[in-house]
Amino acid sequence: MIYRMSAALLSLAGLFISAYLYLYKLGKIGSLACGTGACETVQLSPWSSFAGVDVALIGVLGYAGLLALTLAALQPGLAARRWLPRLLAALAGVGVLFTVYLTYLELFVIHAICRWCVASGFVILAIFIVALLDLRRLPRDRTS
């Protein structure tokens, strides 16, 4: 359960990071606390939306989904279900791939690095790792 608890806390952190960036994009919170101004460059660039949807909103929805999933996976009745950690790992894997794509854009297209995006990148990678670890140990849990 420690992995799922960790994944839930990480998802919550990711949700707040994405919400912060999305509220900025909506013009609700002024400038971003970034230090270099590069966050605003990234967030105001044409690449801050993907298929017409704000990347930050995609983050909000993605992390909210992961959070709901991890909280569900902590319920006693669902703890032994293997599909939950599989789904969690799959979604986190998609998140990692999306983050790699966004990091590529930051480094080679926009030429600016947003620290909040980097933080989100570490969060989604950590969720992916704990989801894999959870998946690996699940058979032992079921036989105990």
Binding site: M1, I2, M5, A8, L9, L12, A13, L15, F16, A19, Y20, L23, Y24, K25, L26, G27, K28, I29, G30, S31, A33, C34, G35, G37, E40, T41, L44, S45, P46, S48, S49, L74, P76, A79, A112, D141, S144
Partner: protein, 227 residues
């Protein structure tokens, strides 16, 4: 193995603390005063422009019109606005030879460019556009290096005699984000990709950006229009 009840309790306590802290920070950011940001790359609605095609100074009957596409955070635009424009204004605009049209072209790499354009637009509501415009350009070195330009623009607006209550409401609403985007879209459609870009009587100007060169250009275009 299922987590112990005590373990779950500790987890939910920690979860609640983090959730409350996060919500508290976001709540503070949403309610703090005088901090504003204007979204870029918005979808332009027909009502955003209502026929607006830039800020104009000079006689409606002037034989030459120059349209400037510029970005408040662009250093070259700042030099042009503060060093060349006063002479151009005195020599050409005030004498009825030239009409100047300023259109926003905020570049994506300038985080405060849209905010600056919006601040000037909100001052325009109260008839203080050019005053705010000049103050923003003159103060570029201060606000461009700051972490938050919004309060600096607000200070300029106050100094220009703008009613700050109405200004704040205008800024918070992001009322002119669409109009600024419409200006930029118009520039892109004409092939503008850098700032400042000048269009003289509708044609792209590729010459030098100094008052003497602009005077020669205006003289030349005025002669052509007289023929």
């Amino acid at each position: 193995m299922a987590a112990t009840q005590a373990g779950m309790k500790r987890f939910y306590s920690l979860f609640a603390v983090i959730a409350l802290a996060g919500l508290g920070v976001l709540g503070y950011l949403l309610t703090r005063p005088a901090t504003v940001s204007i979204p870029a790359n918005v979808t332009v609605q027909a009502s955003d422009t209502s026929g607006f095609k830039g800020y104009v100074k000079g006689s409606a009957t002037a034989p030459v019109e120059i349209t400037e596409y510029a970005d408040y955070q662009c250093p070259f635009c700042q030099t042009f606005a503060t060093l060349q424009m006063p002479t151009i204004e005195e020599r050409l605009i005030n004498t009825g030879r030239l009409r100047w049209r300023y259109r926003d072209f905020p570049l994506d790499q300038h985080p405060f460019a849209v905010l600056a354009a919006h601040s000037a637009a909100c001052a325009d509501e109260q008839g203080k556009y050019w005053d705010q415009h000049q103050r923003i350009y003159e103060g570029q070195g201060d606000w461009a290096a700051s972490g938050n330009a919004a309060p600096i623009f607000r200070k300029y607006a106050g100094a220009a005699g703008v009613d700050l209550g109405r200004y704040d409401a205008c800024m918070r609403a992001g009322k002119y984000a669409g109009r600024i985007q419409a200006d930029k879209n118009a520039g892109v459609a004409l092939g503008v990709s850098s700032t400042p870009t000048l269009m003289a009587n509708g044609r792209l100007y590729r010459g030098r950006f100094d008052s003497d060169a602009i005077t020669r250009l205006v003289d030349s275009l005025a002669r052509q229009s007289n023929k």
